[in-house]
Each structure stands twice: as structure tokens, then as C-alpha cells.
């Protein structure tokens, strides 16, 4: 049902930009999403981390919204669910902090630190990066979509 609707919206020539933009965007969006997750997951080893990766995730969705249309972006991830994901990310961060309280200190690094320079290392820091990444990605997307929907409403009212 949802898939059919998306397909219909993608093929609608009246929505979004030209075919060239759509074709390029279709390929790059997946790569951008992948890169965003890479930045988040390797945040404790290389530059980047939750915030930078989250911004990249939001950019992927924003590109989808610009290239195709706002309607298809809203079908993929509605503003309601973007806001829910935003709050879930923050909730996860605080809950991890509270779990640390059980080990003695707030935000205590209670997991095993592992070997330096390996992917599974640094205790809770990758988890915190992931929760920040989800939060920032969803929040930026929600901000962008909120401003765009609301700004359009104001303009339409004027006409």
C-alpha cells in the first residue's frame, strides 16, 4: 500500500524536479544515508560522531524532499514520526546516563572499554553517538519540514 503510493508519487511528473535530478538523487540518497551511519558508528574512532552523522542523515531526507516533493518525504517519514524519533534519541541518551548512575556515577562508562582502535570499543560512547545521531537527524528533518510547511501556508494565505 505504502510502496505503491510512493511509486505512484515518484512517477508523477508534476511533482518535484526534473528527471535528471530525480535519477541522480535516487542513487545518491542511499549513499548519503550510508555515509551518515558510517560517520555515526565510527564516531569514537575517527572525526565526526553523532552530531555530524545526524546532520548527514537529515541531509539525505532533505534532498529527497527537494528532489521529489514534500509529499513523498512525508509518506516516507511523517513529521509526527520524525518528532517521535527525535524524542526517542534524547530519551535513550538520558536513560544511558541513568543506567550509569547504578554503577556509581551519572553517565558512568559501565560497559567494557574493549581494545583501542577496534569498532566495538569505548564502552557506552558508540551508544551515545547513535542516540545523538538519531536525535539530530530526526530533529533537523523535523525543523526543515516544519519551517517549509508553515512558510508555504503563510504564503498561500497571502495569495
Amino acid at each position: 500500500m505504502k510502496k505503491e503510493k510512493i511509486k505512484e508519487l515518484i512517477e508523477d511528473p508534476n511533482l518535484g524536479m526534473t528527471l535528471i535530478v530525480k535519477t541522480v538523487a535516487r542513487i545518491t540518497i542511499a549513499l548519503i544515508l550510508l555515509y551518515g551511519f558510517y560517520i555515526i558508528i565510527y564516531g569514537h574512532l575517527t572525526p565526526g560522531g553523532g552530531f555530524a552523522g545526524g546532520v548527514i542523515l537529515a541531509i539525505a531526507y532533505t534532498l529527497m524532499m527537494l528532489a521529489f516533493s514534500r509529499r513523498i518525504a512525508l509518506v516516507k517519514l511523517s513529521d509526527f514520526w520524525a518528532s517521535i524519533w527525535d524524542n526517542i534519541g534524547m530519551l535513550a541518551f538520558i536513560v544511558i546516563g541513568f543506567v550509569g548512575l547504578g554503577f556509581g556515577y551519572f553517565l558512568f562508562n559501565f560497559l567494557s572499554k574493549g581494545k583501542p582502535f577496534s569498532l566495538i570499543s569505548a564502552g557506552i560512547i558508540p551508544l551515545l553517538n547513535l542516540s545523538i545521531g538519531i536525535k539530530i537527524g530526526a530533529a533537523l528533518y523535523a525543523i526543515f519540514i516544519g519551517l517549509s510547511i508553515y512558510g508555504r501556508l503563510v504564503l498561500e494565505e497571502e495569495e
Binding site: 509526527f80 518528532s83 517521535i84 524524542n87 526517542i88 534524547m90 530519551l91 538520558i94 546516563g97 541513568f98 550509569g100 548512575l101 556509581g104 556515577y105 551519572f106 553517565l107 558512568f108 562508562n109
Partner: protein, 494 residues
């Protein structure tokens, strides 16, 4: 493990704010249950912390000056009591007052974020975390000022947003300068390495920037332009929080912390703070005299009363600082009481213009009692608390031979009295306009807060000697003993 309550005073309101945001999507009324619950928990925690002896809490087990540290001393305890007490009464009041707004769960979430930010400011042990928490509290307050999305509220909110952001950026700039000089942002470490601040020109520059930023947040003249617009435009519980607590936690508290605990209170800087205070008292009250908009009048009085606090602090003597802190506590109680009263009048009569009110004593008895108690307190009539703090500030000014400041403070006290005689004359007595014949007293949750705050005003006036000994002199000691602060945080010298 009493000190575990320290991170919880910040974490619990944040947790509840997020919980309200998640569940509010499915059930809009959730805020009016979870919000007061969170406010009650943190109020309880701040009373628990009052009994804990001065200590530090290290976040995540990293020792200072490398790790993030939270510091609890007399001043922080006092501020926690003020913030969480006023927040509790305001949020109880908001249950009825905010029920007319559609997205009220967002109000509770923003409110709790603001409280979390302020608790973080008063507990934080390093300059950068102070800045981050200050920004959390400020951002929440910018959004809350424009919460009603009417045109005046938006205009005031935008003005506040621009000026507040300038202040925040200037504070960040000052932190960068301090970091450049000392290579650390931990307050105790900075204090340890900086030595005499008046010998280093860069430190004086940083101090100037700090004074600019924090005075703007505190609304002291000449940085007061945003305050009389922003405070009246917000919904009443938010006005009470902004005027009652926010300008103290972000402005005066941070100013005290930076000038006394970090920089060691150089006398030149103290006299600048004192004269900022004296000018604020005078300008605030003169501007307030001509006002007929009740909330705007109260906002101008906030400027004037914050001037008293700055005057007391700027004297630099133990008596002056204790009196200033006492006045800060009193101002929090009576100014939030008056703003809540104004909200109650506004909700019943639909206007804030004093000229359209009159004779409301008969129709709104409890609100009128609250207005009476608040007005008597702020004008400084015994036995209410405002009298004692003002007379202590004037006495302290006389004792440190600041005769001009004492004379201005006395004159301003009479100006305040005149202004509030006008408020009572226009709102409480006189003929009742015909349209107000069917007025009803506000609902229980509003009158509960009003009565409770009135009783606090009276009690803290009657038992002020007890309060001075148990709250304000420990806070004064914490301010003046810089070496004790450094050794407590860094663990040197026991």
C-alpha cells in the same frame, strides 16, 4: 550518598520533559500530571541537598580539572531552593491557567527544560558547562515568551531572542579569552592559575565581557531594553519564572560566581556592579511610575529590585552580600506572586490595564489578598520580608560609607511604595465596573499557589533572623571564601 541528588536535579526535569513530549503526542493532557510531579521531585531533592554538607560530584567518574564537575556550596543550595520552589508553585498555577492553550504539553516540556537549565547553571563547576546550561534555559525561555503566538508576544520574543543571543555570544567570547589565558575552563582551576586579575589586561577584558553578558541576562540598566517587553508578554506562570528566577539564576548568580569565586572579587569590578545596581533601582522605578499596564509595571519593578540585589552584592561586605541575597530570595517570592496575581486578574477580567479595573476586592478575594501581600512586601512595609531586606541593604550601604547609594536606595523605596499604592488604589478598591458583576474567583490550583506564596512572604518576614542564619550567611561565606571553593573542587589543602 546524598550528593547523588545533584545530577538528578538536572536529569529528572530533562527526563520528564522528554517523556511528556513522547506521550503528549498520544495524550495531550499528560503534561498537567507529569509536570507538577517532576517539579515536586526536584523541590524535594533540593531540600535534601540543603542538608548535605558542601561537596562536589564528578560526572562519569573523571576527576577535575579534566572531567566535568558539579559543585554544591551554600550559594548553590540557596539558588536551588529559590528556583525549584518558585517552579513548583508556578507549575501548579499553570494547571488551570494553561488549560486554555492547545499545545499545553509543549509548555510543560519547555518549562521543565528551562528549570533543568537553571539547576545546571547553579550547580555547574566549569565555565563552559555554565554557558551550555545557560543556553538551554535561555532557548526554552525564548520559546516560552512567544508561546501564545499573538503579534505582541512574537515581537517581544524576537527582541528578547536577539538580545539574549548577543549576551550568550559575548559570554562565550569571554570564556574563550579566559581559556586562552589559563588553558582550562574549570572555575576552580581558573581561579587557581589566574592570580590577581587586575594585573592582566586580558583578564580585565574578559571580566568586562562577562559583566556585559550577565548584566544583559539580569536586565540591569543600561542593558534592560528587552525586559519590560519580554516579561509581560509571556503567559503568567512563565512571567513569574522569568522575573522571579531566570534573571537571578542566569544573571546575578553567574555574575557572583564569576566575579567572586573565579576572579576573587577585585574592588574596582565590585564598584561597577554596585553602580549598575544603583542606576537600575532609580531608572526602573522612575519608568514604572508612569505605567498603567499591570504586568509592564511589574516588569519595570523587576529591574529596580534587581538593582537592589546588585547594590547589596557590589558592596562586597558580608552584611551587604547577605542582605542582597536575602533580597534576591524575597524578590523571587513576591515578584512571582505579583505576576501570578496579574495573570489571575487578566484571566478573570480580560484586561491588564489598571484603569479598567476597580473594586475587585469583593469579587476576587483570594487574588486580592495575594496582591495585597505582594504589594506590601515589595514596597517594604513591616513585617513582610521586603522591609527587612531593604533596610539591611541600606544599613550595609551606610556601614560601608556609600551614602549616595544609600540615599538613592531609600528614595527608590518610597517610589516603589507610591507605585504600588497606585496599583492597589486602581485594582482593589473603588467602584466595581458594571461588566465585572459576575466575576468568579480563579480555580483552586491558582489560588493555592497565590495563598502559599503570600504565606511564604509573611513567614520569611517574621522569621528573617532564622533564615539569615540558616540560608544567607552560609551562602555569603561560600561567596567570600574563594580558597575554600578552590580546595573543595580540586581537592588540594583538604
Amino acid at each position: 550518598m546524598g550528593n547523588i541528588a545533584m545530577p538528578l536535579t538536572v536529569a529528572i526535569p530533562m527526563l520528564f520533559a522528554v517523556l511528556i513530549l513522547v506521550t503528549g503526542k498520544f495524550w495531550r493532557g499528560v503534561g498537567s500530571y507529569l509536570g507538577p510531579l517532576a517539579a515536586f521531585i526536584i523541590l524535594y531533592l533540593s531540600f535534601v541537598l540543603l542538608g548535605v554538607k558542601d561537596t562536589t560530584y564528578i560526572m562519569g567518574g573523571w576527576i577535575p580539572p579534566i572531567g566535568i564537575v558539579m559543585v554544591l556550596d551554600g550559594l548553590s543550595k540557596l539558588m536551588l531552593i529559590i528556583i525549584n520552589g518558585i517552579a513548583f508553585f508556578s507549575i501548579i498555577y499553570a494547571i488551570s491557567y494553561m488549560s486554555k492553550y492547545t499545545a499545553q504539553f509543549k509548555f510543560y516540556a519547555l518549562f521543565l527544560l528551562m528549570v533543568a537549565g537553571m539547576n545546571g547553571v547553579v550547580l555547574s563547576g566549569d565555565l563552559f558547562n555554565l554557558f551550555v546550561f545557560l543556553e538551554i534555559a535561555s532557548l526554552a525561555s525564548y520559546a516560552l515568551v512567544g508561546f501564545g503566538v499573538e503579534s505582541e508576544e512574537l515581537e517581544a520574543g524576537f527582541k528578547y531572542l536577539i538580545l539574549g543571543s548577543v549576551a550568550s555570544i559575548v559570554i562565550l567570547f569571554a570564556i574563550a579569552v579566559v581559556y586562552n589565558i589559563t588553558g582550562t575552563v574549570n572555575m576552580a582551576d581558573v581561579a587557581n592559575t589566574i592570580g590577581n586579575p587586575m594585573l592582566n589586561k586580558a583578564v580585565i577584558f574578559a571580566l568586562g565581557l562577562f559583566i556585559f553578558g550577565f548584566s544583559l541576562k539580569a536586565g540591569l540598566v543600561p542593558f534592560h531594553a528587552w525586559l519590560p517587553d519580554a516579561h509581560p508578554s509571556a503567559p503568567a506562570p512563565v512571567s513569574a519564572m522569568l522575573s522571579g528566577v531566570l534573571i537571578k539564576a542566569l544573571g546575578i548568580y553567574a555574575l557572583i560566581r564569576v566575579t567572586f569565586s573565579v576572579m576573587g572579587a577585585p574592588t574596582e569590578i565590585l564598584s561597577i556592579i554596585m553602580w549598575l545596581g544603583v542606576v537600575s533601582t532609580l531608572v526602573g522605578v522612575l519608568l514604572a511610575l508612569g505605567q498603567y499596564d499591570l504586568k509592564r509595571l511589574l516588569a519595570y519593578h523587576s529591574i529596580s529590585q534587581m538593582g537592589y540585589v546588585a547594590l547589596g552584592i557590589g558592596l562586597g561586605t558580608p552584611e551587604g552580600i547577605a542582605a542582597g541575597l536575602f533580597h534576591m530570595f524575597n524578590h523571587a517570592t513576591f515578584k512571582s506572586l505579583l505576576f501570578l496575581d496579574a495573570g489571575s486578574f487578566e484571566q478573570s477580567t480580560g484586561t491588564r490595564d489598571l484603569r479598567q479595573m476597580g473594586g475587585l476586592m469583593k469579587k476576587l478575594p483570594i487574588t486580592s489578598i495575594g496582591t495585597l501581600a505582594g504589594s506590601v512586601s515589595i514596597s517594604g512595609l513591616p513585617p513582610f520580608n521586603g522591609f527587612w531586606s531593604k533596610i539591611l541593604i541600606i544599613a550595609a550601604a551606610l556601614a560601608s560609607k556609600q551614602y549616595l547609594a544609600a540615599a538613592i536606595a531609600t528614595f527608590v523605596a518610597f517610589g516603589t511604595l507610591a507605585s504600588f499604592v497606585k496599583v492597589m488604589r486602581f485594582s482593589l478598591i473603588g467602584p466595581l465596573p458594571k461588566i465585572y458583576q459576575n466575576l468568579k474567583e480563579s480555580p483552586f490550583s491558582m489560588t493555592f499557589s497565590l495563598l502559599a506564596l503570600s504565606i511564604i512572604c509573611l513567614i520569611s518576614g517574621l522569621f528573617y533572623i532564622f533564615l539569615m542564619d540558616s540560608l544567607f550567611y552560609p551562602a555569603t561565606n561560600a561567596i567570600l571564601k574563594q580558597s575554600a571553593y578552590i580546595s573543595m573542587v580540586l581537592g588540594i589543602g583538604g
